[in-house]
Point group: C2
Chain length 326, copies 2
């Protein structure tokens, strides 16, 4: 399958790496809205094209992986491209997924193409695990915890505060809450009880650190509902100790079965990721394989991870996965 | 959907409970090879029929869940019934799955029916997690650990030793091996390094316990490759402390991505089950829903968990799962 990357940031770069790990995939190239000569790809042989030229290449690309942001890029890009390409995106604004789905579905059906939206780990693998676990244990309760990991949105919010030069925010699950969930205690957890927030901030020389800290911990939506710790460090320390983009989390469902609901069960799925964008990219490439196969069978329209038969994700044949993995 | 149970032991009883937790499912009844009047169901209103009458009811049953053993029951039963019914089984002899698949597929296609084989947690949910994780992280290694849980096969093997009245065997994962895998150390683990075996044995009065212990720990295939601990206890203690059938385990894949494979990732799925048969039964009922829906769409032949789009497992509509779970 010939894969093209549309949009080249951390996620696009992750796809560039992931394609190399899949012998049935080949990278057509990268499409960018920046001047192509300014884009430095991970591999020098990767071709870079202007985004405006993408439709000229539509007969040469099996799947286009759209690596844009969910706030403004994907709501416009994915429907626009879904009429001409089989596309995959990682749209992750949970509340807006039905609207995005409808727009992409209309475009993909009109163009006779497949689109798979909201692919990654949350939404994505975490969603799949929520669905499987709730189907198996209808009489139960599920919990999603995130972290320890870097939230780009929260890091950006801190950077917008006056006197802040740079910042990195970690979301951390509260260990005692995790343990209570695993023990089947079905706790009712407030936002504050589930996660804490840890911030590393580089302040301008002479900046009022007390004011910056207060602005962070009282910031509505982002921090005010959490126990937040602020550490001021130097730019050198930030660059040295916090340049990675780790993330991960836990999806746990506990449920009851049997006579008088006397049996308890715990289903837990967890991820511990050194690089959030590289892992997300790896999920995107696996679902690109499914998109290709489904398109080849004449399937059309917008899909989500819930619609994809797992066998279509594997490089192995159906006979192989039955013999080797079942 | 109208579900019938074929074979009534611990697993069939689990299905009887699980059907009640799914508002879209209704229990047609239980089919048994024993005299029906000797079968005591969990709920008095559950109807019990002779197995020989099952084909007379084929128009009234949407899915037949076959609750037999993998050694001799299912290889005969599932192909025989798949021509007349949509069927689900939990065939779990991993090495014989391709052969079982072929036999069931031929019967189901001939009868225009759907069959889903090897449904449960291993094979089943563990298989799904092996497939998803390997598709996402091609450059990685996966590990399956079982336990802590009761192995019926090993318990039975002990009971066949002269002088043994009763026994219960627990399979226990070696914690240090689990930790090494989670740390991404990619250890090469021998059978002995992955699991230990813990046995509780009730011996006849005056039996030679030293001989029994030696026969257990040296038993080929079952125990000789493991570090095995044997505890002799009374029947009262066994009945009081070891009557449950807990099980569970871990599927872990670690893999690398990015420049020079510098990013490590850990995907872990785990189950902690108070009742192995009740949990397996709950998985069977969720896949029975998928069998019904797929049959309704005209799909035919033998399937495995790998062929089932997750959305078909949920009692919710596609729109609901997209809005609520993605």
């Amino acid at each position: 399958m010939k894969i093209a990357i549309y949009g080249y940031g951390n996620l696009g770069r992750g796809v560039e790496f992931a394609v190399r790990q899949n012998p049935d995939a080949e990278l057509f190239g990268v499409f960018t809205r920046r001047p192509p000569e300014t884009v430095k790809t991970a591999f020098p042989e990767t071709k870079v094209f202007p985004a405006a030229d993408v439709t000229h290449c539509k007969d040469e690309i099996d799947v286009l992986i759209i690596c844009g942001g969910s706030a403004t890029d994907l709501p416009a890009m994915t429907p626009a491209l879904a009429a001409d390409f089989n596309v995959i995106d990682s749209f992750d604004t949970h509340a807006d997924i039905p609207k995005h789905f409808a727009a992409v579905d209309a475009a993909a059906r009109q163009g006779g193409r497949i689109a798979i939206i909201s692919v990654g780990w949350d939404p994505g693998m975490f969603s799949l695990n929520r669905l499987y676990a709730s189907a198996i244990l209808p009489d139960g309760k599920d919990y999603t915890f995130w972290g320890k990991g870097v939230s780009q949105g929260h890091s950006d919010a801190i950077r917008r505060i006056e006197g802040v030069l740079d910042a990195r925010q970690y979301t951390i699950p509260v260990q005692s809450a995790l343990e209570s969930v695993r023990a089947g205690e079905n706790p009712e957890l407030t936002t504050r009880q589930k996660h804490t927030r840890l911030c590393y901030v580089v302040a301008e020389d002479g900046a009022d650190k007390a004011r910056i800290e207060k602005e962070i911990v009282t910031m509505p939506k982002y921090f005010s509902d959490y126990d937040t710790t602020v550490n001021f460090i130097s730019q050198e320390e930030l660059d040295r100790d916090h340049k990675g983009i780790p993330h991960g989390g836990f999806v746990i469902r506990t449920g009851k079965t049997g006579a008088d609901n006397s049996s308890s069960h715990v289903i837990e799925y967890s991820l511990k990721l050194d690089s959030n964008p590289e892992f997300t990219a790896s999920v995107l490439v696996a679902f690109a394989r499914a998109a290709c196969r489904m398109a080849g069978r004449g399937d059309r329209g917008c899909k989500t991870v819930f619609d994809i038969a797992p066998v279509d994700l594997s490089i192995k044949t159906r006979e192989q996965v039955i013999a080797e993995m079942l």
